[in-house]
């Protein structure tokens, strides 16, 4: 059996914003579920979302009883003077028996590898390690076992990275596609005073306003800045700065200066990703509902199992769950995306 040609059976890594979502993901066929605590230690620090230490422990038991894994994201950047919260999160993860923690900050990685040498470490996409050298640095310094790749590489480049690093690769296959290098974006903080890196929130809901006028035109605003406008009947999006519409001197009309509101869907590229040496396929969306988790996880479970059985990928229509009801293969298909 030639490993370079035959697809390996990948691990399906699925999001959970609440314990009910985690059980939904497990029941829908997730191999692994990732989640976060109810504070700034994770990059989806949204109101009403995430796990208490007790909920995390019970959820790990639920998953382990069914042979599945749980990962805890501790993937934000502690500001100096507040590091204790992140130390506590690592301790909670270890005592809950999670299968790995997902880290981004070098200080958190150094602390976890020093104090909890048995705890498996994954490198978060928030670490922005997009080259083999950057990944190797983290592997050699902190014993990182798996890297979550930024969504900026083509499948061919992923295969190339795979050959040059000593750890596993996890790649996003579905969900929100941020345009900016993760872990290095201060756009939200510039507008709202809430930092994506330190507070774990992109476009905090508290600063989001939707205004619909008499014609049915919907204006979305973040802080004092208008991010986009949708005519009556036009599909909308969440006011994320990198998906907003702006004007500039070389465009006659306002345009999506960074990216249109749409979501990543790589279901058609699954066989290629599996051949490129990707160990784990990641679905984005801890902030989304159980209904989303159930549909997306079930669809990808079916697709992956089909591919392993030698069938053409079964592509369930997931477009209704995507932002702006539009999909993209982003950077993965070709360099012209850049």
């Amino acid at each position: 059996m030639n490993d370079d040609v035959a697809p390996r059976r990948p691990e399906l890594v699925c999001p959970a914003g609440t314990p009910a979502s985690l059980r939904t993901a497990v029941d829908a066929g997730a191999d692994t579920v990732y989640c976060g605590l109810q504070n700034a230690t994770n990059a989806r620090n949204f109101p009403g979302l995430n796990f208490s230490p007790e909920e995390l422990r019970k959820s790990v038991d639920y998953a382990h009883a069914r042979g599945r894994k749980v990962l805890l994201a501790v993937n934000t950047f502690p500001p100096a003077g507040q590091f204790q919260l992140w130390k506590d999160a690592v301790g909670i993860a270890a005592s809950a028996g999670v299968d790995a923690i997902i880290v981004a900050d070098m200080g958190v990685a150094a602390y976890a590898s020093r104090e909890y040498p048995q705890l498996r470490l994954h490198l978060s996409v928030q670490a922005g390690a997009s080259s083999p050298e950057a990944i190797r640095f983290h592997c050699e310094e902190f014993g990182i076992r798996r890297v979550v790749l930024p969504r900026i590489l083509t499948v061919a480049e992923i295969a190339d990275v795979h050959r040059q690093i000593p750890c596993e690769i996890e790649a996003f296959v579905f969900g929100n596609i941020g345009m900016m290098a993760e872990g290095r974006c201060s756009l939200t903080n510039y507008v709202t005073g809430i930092s994506t890196n330190m507070d774990g929130v992109c476009s905090p809901a508290a600063d989001v306003r939707y205004e619909e006028d008499a014609d049915g035109t919907l204006t979305t605003r973040l802080g004092s800045f208008v991010i986009d406008q949708y005519r009556c009947g036009e599909n909308g999006g969440y006011p994320t700065i990198c998906k907003g519409r702006y004007g500039c001197s070389v465009q006659s009309e306002p345009y999506y200066a960074f990216e249109e509101p749409r979501s990543l869907n790589l279901s058609a590229l699954l066989p290629d990703l599996m051949r490129a040496g990707v160990t784990a396929l990641k679905i984005e969306g801890r902030q989304r509902s159980r209904a989303y988790v159930k549909s997306v996880v079930a669809a990808f479970r079916l697709a992956v199992d089909g591919i392993m059985a030698g069938e053409e990928p079964a592509l369930t229509d997931l477009i209704a769950l995507t932002e702006g009801h539009k999909e993209t293969q982003g950077a993965f298909q070709s360099k012209s995306w850049r």
Partner: protein
């Protein structure tokens, strides 16, 4: 007398609810509030500071709105004529069935919002918190509520599935 003048123009009829006088609706709503408080106390924990806020749930195809105050010790759910509704921190509007499925966790709120079927005004953070809290109820809030009808629970369950069928929706959208 409670029917809105424009009611006959509305595309999706919910005849029973539309002509239901609000005083008759209120005991049922109170029961729902009490039941959720009793069986799903975690919902209020998840709401955190937002539990002290008030929400208008606005089914646009019905002549009334619901006002939800999810205070843990005394949650309340009440029906108001649209023009008389008291001040609230946030409003979420959509068709009765979309709101019903959203609250029950069987439809994705973001997907509804992206398709403009849901309108959100006021304190967006409170609405996100409410949505996330309700989403953590296993089996959905509606199942939890129908149990409140005691001996009438099977009737309530049948009514719910009837409502869903009217809207062309099964529980899991098969």
């Amino acid at each position: 007398m409670f029917a809105s003048p424009a009611a006959s123009d509305r595309p999706w009829p919910l005849p029973l609810l539309r002509f239901l006088p609000l005083p008759l609706l209120q005991p049922i709503l109170t029961l729902i509030g009490t039941q959720v408080a009793k069986t799903q106390p975690d919902v209020f924990l998840r709401l955190g500071p937002h539990a002290l806020k008030s929400f208008i749930i606005d089914p646009t195809d019905l002549p009334f709105v619901l006002v939800l105050k999810p205070k843990p010790e005394a949650p309340s759910l009440s029906a108001w004529r649209r023009d008389n509704a008291p001040y609230s921190h946030a409003r979420i509007a959509g068709t009765f069935l979309d709101l019903f499925d959203l609250i029950d966790g069987s439809l994705d709120g973001d997907a509804l919002f992206f398709s403009r079927k849901l309108r959100v005004t006021g304190d967006t953070e409170a609405i996100v918190a409410l949505r996330n809290a309700l989403d953590d109820v296993d089996g959905g809030v509606v199942e939890s509520i129908t149990k409140a009808f005691g001996p009438l629970a099977p009737v309530a369950t049948i009514t719910v599935s009837h409502l869903r069928r009217l809207g062309g929706r099964g529980k899991n959208h098969e």
